[in-house]
Symmetry: C2
Subunit: 410 residues, 2 copies
């Protein structure tokens, strides 16, 4: 059961002018499910992307990087499969990723470098590119502009529900739409982007600015979540701007219009990123961790991530057991070399737990236990050595995480 | 059930001339268990120690460091309690740790700085120093030279069995004894030493050389294990050399005698460190991870630790499911910035799984599944970029880890 994550409704997902999506059943891993998506992008669309920092990155990630380098402004199609990550597949994996792009290009009369491939699923298995090719015509034929919910369903792996959302923003009096989907529930410690996230907009924006805003949005959203600390081989966060809205193009990051756009982009990315955590494998709680009073954002994030990754902290949250010394221990080993423990404050929700590195004199454990029973919990640590702040989001750690990952392939 | 870890037998634990240990029931956390130990060290004993790198280190760790700085050659007693870590306890925790040393000093007519305090157990709770003081006379009165098994039992927390072992080594024709104990089963990612490890020897050795060898032994043993990646606030590894063996003192690290001694010390430390992993919370398998072909030992260890910490890798081992792409993913995000994935080899036991970054053509999954069903598993990764090598030891990750840590305080 995801944590406070309502099922997206198809009617709330706004079509984006210039984007049509078709899905099909290719039988990549299992028969009878929509596991293949093709996105058709209008001519003139601009595409930006950020990718996993995992050095063992998947073949499709490598091909994406190549194709975006060739022509970020000429991308006309995305091809996404679930069920197989095409990672850890060596040279043969690259051949297969390239062949799938060539097949899409042939069907749509494009050049292969105008197609970006994405895969998610099991690592180290051969991509059944023949089955993908066989299902391609059906996916292309099915393409419509209101298939966003289907698109979100067609990229799921261990996700228990699809993740999709829309935003509207006014630019020069013109309504601009942003609609996005994401997937991921395990192997989540994005370090550039999430496992797979896609946002399309009809905004008019230059390729440079879209790339810059995409990085900013990723950093404020997908780069702040963790479920199990495992950075995936296939992380991709892609934005598409079809330029169909008709307003004067956004060129300057500092303009009011550009700021309104990036705020909406960031908000949507945060909603999708948090949806991944809410649907984290085995998750029963959604936890926001804010570390403030650091010398810089990096050290705040280091401490917040140490807390968010600690299996001991996560199991304590699962049990609603205020064994909160585990949070202090995580702050202590986070890697802040000259941290002074005698300055640390810790709040759990509104409960002041630790002051000066020790138990607050008025702290009563029952109050912390009450906070921990909620499905949404806020942890705040103050380092008292500067004015920087950072927030990350994570979930708790239950037996179900182990069960899901011990069973994933069976 | 620990993995291939026979119960130590009292008769196999050799007394160390100059060391007597007494235990008592102080009721630190629960009544009716031996939770307090006092070690009485002969005059002239030399003590060395390495401590947690956690900046949120426990009060007793801070006091140990102070006292060892004052007089490493004058330490005459160790005081150890389980049930309470005296960590995250602020200034009050320091007062209590110091008071416990003063009480031991008074009972034994020593100065407080001749006593080293150690605590393990729950973090952020007040140390009941009055109960410790009340039980002290009984512990001192019980001191004997053959109480090693009791000593190992008296420091357990979530350990399912005591960890203790002995070694004999000949120095100048003289039999020298090393006997040690350790505890720890969770919050284990030592980063200087394990949660608590103690080795005593009657060897004659200078304080400087003992400290140097203690660091070397810790680095070859406790610093190479991980259960959950959580570096404890209380890690300590202490060696005591009572100088009672009567041989000419070891002064030069390079001498044959000193090398024989450090080899025995290292071997004993490795046995104790591996015992901690074998008794890891929820562990069903013992896994050795060797990364070779790195440019230096540090990058090999980085990759080995990434594999050892990955919840996905650990749950796959638990399930005996050769979902081995997860190992590649961990190598990829370990932090080796210029790693070339196309060079990577992976062996599981004798099975060659990955070559050139992709599935080995002769690899058959059933063979890897067979290797994974054993209780002891070897993972070998070759980076093919140098000649360095590093090994770490870990265990798998089962529902029981979650259960134990969700229940720990109840």
């Amino acid at each position: 059961m995801p944590v406070n994550l309502p099922l997206p409704k198809a009617e709330n997902l706004q079509p984006v002018r210039g984007v049509r999506i078709g899905t099909a059943m290719a039988g990549v891993r299992k028969a009878g499910r929509r596991d293949l998506s093709v996105w058709l992008l209008a001519e003139g669309s601009v595409v930006a992307g950020v990718f996993t920092s995992n050095r063992f990155c998947a073949a499709p990630v490598q091909v994406c990087r190549e194709h975006l380098a060739v022509q970020p402004q000429g991308i006309r199609a995305l091809l996404i499969n679930t069920g197989n990550a095409n990672a850890g597949t060596g040279a043969d994996g690259l051949v297969r990723a390239r062949r799938s792009c060539a097949s899409v290009a042939q069907a749509l009369q494009l050049s292969p470098s105008q197609v970006l491939p994405f895969s998610t699923g099991v690592i180290m298995e051969t991509l059944p590119v023949d089955r993908i090719e066989a299902a391609l015509p059906a996916a292309v034929a099915a393409a419509r502009d209101d298939a966003w919910l289907e698109a979100a369903q067609a990229i799921m792996t261990t996700d228990t529900q699809p993740k999709a959302a829309s935003r509207r923003v006014l630019i020069q009096g013109q309504a601009v739409t942003l609609t996005g989907i994401a997937k991921g529930a395990g192997m989540i410690r994005p370090n550039m982007a999430t496992m797979l996230g896609f946002i399309a907009t009809d905004a008019c924006i230059s390729a440079e600015l879209l790339q810059r805003f995409t990085c900013e949005a990723a950093d404020a959203s997908f780069n702040r979540i963790t479920i199990d600390g495992d950075t995936s081989t296939n992380d991709c966060f892609i934005t598409v701007a079809t330029q169909a809205a008709g307003h004067a193009p956004l060129l300057e990051a500092s303009s009011a219009d550009a700021q309104a756009f990036v705020a909406a982009l960031r908000e949507l990315a945060v909603e999708l990123a948090q949806a991944i955590v809410r649907d984290g494998e085995g998750a029963t709680k959604f936890i926001s961790i804010t570390v403030e009073g650091g010398r810089d954002e990096a050290e705040c994030r280091l401490a917040a991530c140490a807390i968010a990754h600690s299996p001991l902290v996560k199991t304590a949250f699962y049990a609603s057991d205020p064994n909160l010394g585990r949070i202090l221990a995580a702050v202590g080993y986070a890697g802040i070399g000259d941290l002074d423990q005698s300055l640390i404050d810790l709040h759990l929700g509104e409960v002041h737990v630790v002051t000066g590195g020790g138990r607050h004199p008025q702290y009563v454990e029952a109050e912390a236990a009450r906070v921990m029973q909620a499905a949404e919990i806020e942890v705040r640590v103050h380092l008292h050595r500067g004015s920087a702040v950072s927030t990350v989001w994570t979930c708790d750690f239950s037996e179900d995480y182990v069960r899901i990952n011990a069973d994933y392939r069976s």
